[in-house]
């Protein structure tokens, strides 16, 4: 073993991570080799340089409070799948078939619904998070009412081309957008305004059924078109949010397919 190969061992020794036998061998070598001794001293000097309390970033005071708040919002009880266990009491063939049929229906029905519930939960979490961030720092990555600024920004930051339309003439001004994450996947989030309300429009490639719902005081509408999934969420009333949805759907062009 030459001294170059000992480099990693020297660092492990400085970290006290070598087994006793290897440590003894290395220790003897350090005694005889000035170059490795200097490398060991350098490793310790670098370790000491980093282990400086001034370099430790402590969490800002209000972060904990914000997390507890969003934890209370986000936490939902685990789905009670156990409830759907089938009681195998001898009921006769017809009854069994009926039960199997019902169980299958409820199983598939439920799994689809729970996927929805998951999407919906993340969308609403993300909406809340974007609005709670101090000075709207997480509401916009690109803050602009110009669709010709917002659109190219998205083209650079996501690998699909989301629909970006200014709707200020209809009373829903485009305010900006950001990159967000739903189930760990990057999605485009566009921010629109309506009087004092904010609307988040999430877009990503994929198919989804059409539906409307409400969660934690927010109204939610989702649909898909031309291979893209759209979710809108806001504290706006349902009829104004539906009107916004109609405007977005009307302006959707066939260009909004993944490229």
């Amino acid at each position: 073993m030459n001294c170059h190969d000992r480099r990693e061992l020297i660092h492990a020794y400085a970290d006290d991570e070598l087994d006793v036998a290897s440590a003894r061998v290395l220790d003897a070598h350090l005694h005889d080799c000035p170059s490795c001794r200097a490398a060991f001293a350098a490793a310790r000097a670098v370790k000491a340089a980093i282990a400086n309390p001034a370099l430790y970033h402590r969490a800002p005071a209000d972060l904990r409070r914000r997390i507890i708040k969003s934890a209370h919002h986000a936490h939902v009880a685990a789905p009670a799948a156990e409830r759907w266990r089938i009681p195998w009491i001898p009921l006769g063939l017809a009854a069994s078939i009926l039960i199997i049929g019902l169980a299958a229906y409820s199983f598939f029905g439920r799994s689809q619904r729970s996927q929805f519930a998951l999407d919906e939960q993340e969308i609403v979490d993300s909406h809340i998070r974007s609005l709670q961030s101090p000075e709207e720092s997480h509401l916009y990555d690109v803050k602009s009412t110009d669709q010709h600024t917002v659109k190219p920004w998205f083209d650079q930051h996501v690998d699909f081309s989301p629909l970006v339309k200014q709707l200020s003439a209809d009373g829903y001004p485009l305010l900006g957008g950001r990159l967000d994450y739903i189930h760990n996947h990057p999605v485009a989030a566009l921010v629109y305004g309506r009087a004092k309300h904010k609307i988040n429009l999430f877009i990503w490639p994929g198919e989804s059924a059409h539906g409307t719902s409400a969660d934690r005081g927010f109204n939610i509408i989702h649909w898909s078109r031309d291979g893209m999934t759209y979710w809108v969420v806001s504290d706006l009333n349902t009829s104004d949010l539906q009107k916004f949805t109609d405007l977005i759907q009307a302006s959707a062009s066939p260009k909004t397919v993944p490229h």
Binding site: A12, A39, A49, A51, Y56, A59, P60, I68, H75
Partner: protein, 174 residues
């Protein structure tokens, strides 16, 4: 277990490590607002999968989630500075321990040097020196073999030594 019980236990077991979570996210993103968002996101995820947490080191567990959320965030912004393990680093034989000690009295100088490291080297350095995780815990949190942890730590420190001892702008001027 009821909702409020879980949230309360989560606060006691996991949220006590908030500083560690923030420290890692802050070093990886190099800015405060992104680090805050990542930690908030990571904590919400941790709470959701808290049922699957089987005890053990909650700090290492939370740091694993923070690291993953940070990497997803950085790679979406194409901001991960890749590191090639096969790259042969120049020999760092002539490092001067005294000069390293002298230069590292300035915390800002050290901070700047650490921020210049490739993301993956910075990750292991922060986990080791600031969070004092063992090699085994770092391997668990980053999903890399212990041998890789060992080699990245040594390379990270040698690069840092070079960055710390580089001639300053004043010295460069003849």
């Amino acid at each position: 277990m009821g909702k409020s019980d879980t949230t309360a236990r989560f606060e006691q077991v996991v949220l006590v490590h908030l500083d560690a979570a923030y420290n890692l996210a802050r070093w990886l993103t190099k800015n405060e607002p992104d680090a805050q968002d990542i930690v908030q996101d990571a904590c919400v995820r941790a709470l959701r999968s808290f049922d699957q947490f089987r005890g053990g080191d909650a700090r290492a567990w939370l740091l694993t989630i923070v690291r993953n959320v940070s990497y997803t965030f950085l790679s979406a912004r194409k901001a991960v500075v890749e590191y090639d393990d096969d790259l042969h680093e120049p020999a760092a034989d002539d490092l001067d321990p005294q000069l390293i000690i002298q230069r590292s009295t300035d915390a800002d100088h050290v901070r700047h040097a650490i921020e210049q490291l490739p993301t993956e080297l910075r990750t292991v350095i922060v986990l080791r020196e600031l969070e004092e995780l063992s090699y085994k815990e770092i391997a668990g949190a980053t999903g890399m073999p212990i041998g890789t942890v060992m080699s990245r730590l040594s390379r990270g420190r040698e690069r840092l030594a070079m960055l710390l001892t580089e001639p300053t702008e004043v010295e460069k001027t003849p």
